[in-house]
Structure formats: structure tokens, C-alpha cells
């Protein structure tokens, strides 16, 4: 049963959904925001620590969500470590495009390893009602690094 859903729920997603990485609060994080998906009520908090050069040295999240949103948040905390805030936002743009329009290889200019890891979430594109689940953590990270403390997936930051 549900074999056709293996494309959406790849093993990596089930793993991260069940055992999220960096699932903790960081006190005194440089950046911090609450993300909210009004459609389902899911809430996440994202914490970002940067060094003087703007590199992300630590990144974490807490909250409640479905397998897709938790896995996406967990993967994000692993992928963005060591990136600059600028790179993180750029990656969000590509990820968002991958989840919504698909575009012409939206992850083309990302390091291959990162692109491969993000690719596991591309299945949500076939499930419009689940796109916001996948993008919630990224919206929240993006808002946090811009000094916005509250963000909703309905705040008009793109279709996601």
C-alpha cells in the first residue's frame, strides 16, 4: 500500500522526520524566528548562529510538524552549516523554486552535494498542498536572518 508515495516520502525524509537533527533551542542565537503555517497550525522556531565573517556556525530548530516539514528543517540545519547567510538565502531561492515551479534546474549553481540532498524534497511539487510544509523552515530561516521574528507561510513570500 502507498508504494507510489515513496517518491514523496523518500527514506531520507522518513529518517529525518522521525529523528530530526539539530532539534534543540540555542540561547542567545544571533538570529531567531517563529515560523507558522496557518493552513495546518504547524509551528517551528529556527535559531542561527554566525561568526564575524557572516558564516553560519550553528543552526537548529524546534517545533511540531509533519514528516515533510520536520525532515526539511532537519536537512536544512545540516546543509546550511558553514555557509554564509548570503549563500543560505540564495539556496532558499533555489529550493523554493524547486518545490514550486520546478524551473530549469533551480539548484544548478549549488554545490553538487547540497543539490543532491535538497533534491529528495522535490517530490512535494506534485503535492501543492504540501509545498508549504517543505518550505516552512526555510521561510523561517530567511526571515530570521533579515531580523523578522515572526513569519507565516501566508505572508506573500512567494507561492510557497
Amino acid at each position: 500500500m502507498f508504494d507510489e508515495l515513496r517518491e514523496l516520502y523518500q527514506e531520507v525524509i522518513l529518517d529525518h522526520g522521525k529523528s530530526p537533527r539539530n532539534f534543540r533551542a540555542i540561547e542567545d542565537a544571533r538570529y531567531h524566528a517563529h515560523g507558522y503555517n496557518p493552513m495546518c497550525g504547524d509551528q517551528l522556531e529556527v535559531f542561527v548562529v554566525t561568526d564575524d565573517g557572516g558564516h553560519i556556525t550553528d543552526l537548529s530548530f524546534i517545533g511540531k510538524g509533519c514528516a515533510i516539514s520536520v525532515a526539511s528543517a532537519s536537512l536544512m540545519t545540516e546543509i546550511l552549516r558553514g555557509k554564509t547567510v548570503h549563500e543560505a538565502r540564495h539556496m532558499f531561492d533555489g529550493f523554493h523554486e524547486m518545490c514550486t515551479t520546478g524551473g530549469d534546474d533551480p539548484l544548478a549553481d549549488l554545490p553538487e552535494e547540497d543539490a543532491d540532498r535538497l533534491q529528495v524534497l522535490s517530490g512535494v511539487r506534485e503535492f501543492p498542498m504540501r509545498v508549504k510544509c517543505a518550505t516552512l523552515a526555510w521561510h523561517t530561516m530567511n526571515a530570521a536572518t533579515k531580523g523578522i521574528n515572526e513569519v507565516s507561510t501566508d505572508d506573500g513570500q512567494g507561492a510557497g
Partner: protein
């Protein structure tokens, strides 16, 4: 005798015959037979309702209450006949008390904006409950922000029962209105509204009942309930979207100012002043939902033809069966277990978030609702973000409960 035949025998309800009236139920979703368990959000429509709307557009359509030509008169008669059906359905004293709106939400907003704005003042109290839909919370918050009224919230038990002692304790000389649901859209709880009306009236307060869920499951008699306002939507009662009802006592409607201004709701107009039309037209500005009101009349005929007692017995059987089947699933928790509840089953599973459950069972052709069900304060009260909800209507079957059960077992295997 098989189980289905036994039910037909026992309560005189032939669900197979009923299902043939609903064309959509024969379609497939993702290559599977549709199992529609989301009637609490909006119910499917029988052929009788579809035919009534189609008939009026094909043979009788014109605007109402203003033309002297033949079709206008026919359509006016059809719409007023539908109003009379609503009157009889609620056992109201007069069709003048039946105001057509877009839906239950608009009906509540009408009461808040017209009656509330006119008769409530700073410090007056409105009592709602923890199991309200957002549509029976936000209009009163508007009024709180505008007029300085105070909102009081009656609590429910963990099982979803209204705590009557606590409710009674909220009533005092400042209580002007109790606005409460007749049935919870999330938990299926049937609220003891007759007792609530008695207590509220003793305290000198009016009572508004949100019947959006209840009217599809139990007979409603507004004179027996003795309430002051009763609201419901057509689309949950197997009728069209875009048509709803506000019933209120004639004296209250008489005293209330119009909600919207425009055509249809006036007797005479100059640029200096206007005189309002008689009830209920005073509250029906603009061209109304003509065909939809006729469709609602057909839906009421359909439901009363089957008999709400028979429908209720059929749904009670489904609820018992669903509770029994779903309880057998490891890690599944039923949310809302008030005695005497109606056929709405909310649940969570320890292996999967409601959103994931919804996506999976959809692939099995099963339509359920997942999320907060427009009742976030209730979710907060229960310590949940969301639930999955299967709601059963008159066309559902035990076999469909089995399909849901197998799908949920599949969810368990998938997320393990």
C-alpha cells in the same frame, strides 16, 4: 442476513438506494473508489438538489420580488416556498423569521453587526465555549474591539463535554448573549442546548445556536429549544453553497437595524431617508441566491423524506462501528468521546502527523480532513496542533469504514 440488510430492516434506512442519488459517489480518486468522509466540511449533493437548481435555470429563472412578468412571479413563489420549507424544518412560528444569508458564518456576523452593535455596550458579556468554530469567535472579537464587550469562554472536559457547572458559573447580570455551537465540528459533541437556553434565559441573556453541524444529524425545533437565534449553512445539509439561514424571533428581527443596504431591503427611498422593507427582506439586500435557496428547499425535502431520526440511527451505527474499528489500530487515539456524540471522529496517530495521514489515505481514495478544523482555541485546549477527522454522512457505509481502517493500518506500516 448481512449487516447492511439488517440495518435496512431495523431502522428502515437503505443506504445503497441513498448512494444512487449522489452521482459523485461513483467516481474514482487516484484510481480508487471515492470514500468521502469529509461531509462535516461540506456534504455532497443528491440528484434531487442538482435537478432543482438545473430546473429553475432551464425553465423558470428571473429575478425575484420585483418583476411583474410571469417568470419573476414563478421564481418568487419558488423562493418563498423554499423559505417555508426552512420554517417547517426548524418548526419556526413564521416564515418572516427566516432570513436567507450566504452561510452560517454570515448569519452570525449579521447578528453580531446588527443586534450586537445596537444592543450591546461596554462591559456587557458574551459567553462562547471552547469548542466553537472560528466563525462563532471572530465576530464577537470584532464587537469586543469595537464596543468593549467582554468575551467569556465556557470550558469543556478532556472528552469534549461542555462543563455545565462551569458554564452556569459564567452567567451573571452582565451576560447579554450566549453564542454556542449545537454540535462540535471537531469532536462531534452534541451540546445540551436546551438546558443552556434555560440557564441563559434565567440570567436574562439571549442565546444564539450555531447549528451548522447539528442540522444534518438531529431534528431541530427552535420553539422547543426556546433559543433566540439559530444559524446554519445549506452546503453541509446536502444543499448548494452560497445559501445559509438565520432564524431569529420576530420581535428581535423587528428591533434590529438592517445589516447591509441596497435593493430589495427597502420600502421607499429618497436621498434624505429610506424606509425598510418588511421581514425578512429588511436583511436581504441585493439579488439573493435564488436558485440556491430552491436547492436548499430540495435538500430539506430530501433529508426530511429520509427522516432525520432514520439518518441519525444509520449514522450512530457507523459511529459505533468506526470507533470499534479505529480503536483496534495500534497507536491511534480518538479525540472527543462525549456520550451521545454525532458521527464525527477525530483522531491522532503516534506514528504520523495528521497531514501525513491525510496525504496517504487520499491515495487510497479516502477523503478526510486534517488540520485544526477552524477551531484553533480547541486545539490549544486539547494540547494538539491538528487532528485527522473522518466525518460520516447519510451516504456512508460500514464498508467505507473498513476502507479507512485498512488505509490507516497502511499508514502505520508506512511510518512504522
Amino acid at each position: 442476513m448481512n449487516a447492511q440488510a439488517d440495518i435496512v430492516e431495523r431502522i428502515g434506512f437503505d443506504v445503497d438506494a441513498v448512494r444512487r442519488d449522489f452521482p459523485i459517489l461513483s467516481r474514482e480518486v487516484h484510481g480508487k473508489k471515492l470514500v468521502f468522509l469529509d461531509s462535516a466540511a461540506s456534504a455532497q449533493k443528491p440528484r434531487q438538489v442538482l435537478d432543482a437548481e438545473r430546473h429553475i435555470y432551464e425553465h423558470e429563472y428571473a429575478n425575484v420580488h420585483r418583476g411583474i412578468h410571469y417568470l419573476s412571479q414563478v421564481c418568487t413563489d419558488r423562493m418563498e416556498a423554499a423559505r417555508e420549507k426552512v420554517r417547517a424544518f426548524l418548526n419556526a412560528a413564521s416564515a418572516k423569521e427566516v432570513v436567507f444569508t450566504r452561510n452560517a458564518t454570515e448569519s452570525i456576523n449579521l447578528v453580531a453587526a446588527s443586534w450586537g452593535r445596537t444592543f450591546l455596550k461596554e462591559g456587557d458579556e458574551v459567553v462562547v465555549s471552547e469548542i466553537e468554530h472560528h466563525s462563532n469567535i471572530i465576530p464577537w472579537q470584532f464587537l469586543r474591539d469595537e464596543k468593549g464587550i467582554v468575551l467569556r469562554v465556557a470550558p469543556v472536559s478532556d472528552e469534549g463535554e461542555l462543563l455545565m457547572e462551569e458554564f452556569a458559573g459564567l452567567l451573571n447580570e452582565r451576560t447579554r448573549l450566549v453564542a454556542i455551537t449545537h454540535m462540535s465540528n471537531v469532536l462531534g459533541t452534541i451540546v445540551p442546548v436546551k438546558e443552556i437556553v434555560r440557564l441563559a434565559h434565567d440570567a436574562g441573556a439571549k442565546v444564539l445556536l450555531d447549528g451548522a453541524q447539528a442540522v444534518t444529524h438531529i431534528p431541530v425545533d427552535v420553539r422547543d429549544l426556546d433559543c433566540d437565534f439559530y444559524v446554519f449553512s445549506g452546503h453541509k445539509l446536502y444543499g448548494p453553497t452560497g445559501i445559509g439561514v438565520l432564524w431569529a424571533r420576530e420581535a428581535l428581527l423587528d428591533a434590529m437595524p438592517p445589516y447591509m443596504g441596497g435593493g430589495e431591503m427597502i420600502r421607499s427611498v429618497t436621498f434624505e431617508r429610506a424606509e425598510w422593507a418588511d421581514l425578512p427582506y429588511k436583511f436581504e439586500a441585493g439579488t439573493p441566491a435564488i436558485a440556491q435557496s430552491v436547492g436548499l428547499g430540495a435538500a430539506i425535502d430530501y433529508v426530511t423524506g429520509l427522516g432525520l431520526d432514520s439518518i441519525g440511527a444509520h449514522e450512530a451505527d457507523l459511529l459505533t462501528y468506526a470507533n470499534q474499528r479505529l480503536s483496534s489500530i495500534d497507536g491511534l487515539k480518538l479525540i472527543g468521546t462525549a456520550p451521545g456524540k454525532a458521527s464525527v471522529v477525530s483522531f491522532t496517530m503516534d506514528c504520523a502527523h495528521p497531514h501525513d495521514i491525510g496525504t496517504l489515505v487520499d491515495r487510497a481514495g479516502v477523503a478526510i480532513r486534517v488540520g485544526h478544523h477552524c477551531a484553533q482555541p480547541l486545539m490549544d485546549r486539547l494540547g494538539l496542533v491538528a487532528t485527522a477527522r473522518a466525518s460520516f454522512g447519510l451516504y456512508n457505509t460500514r464498508a467505507e469504514v473498513d476502507v479507512l481502517t485498512r488505509a490507516l493500518e497502511g499508514v502505520r506500516e508506512f511510518f512504522g
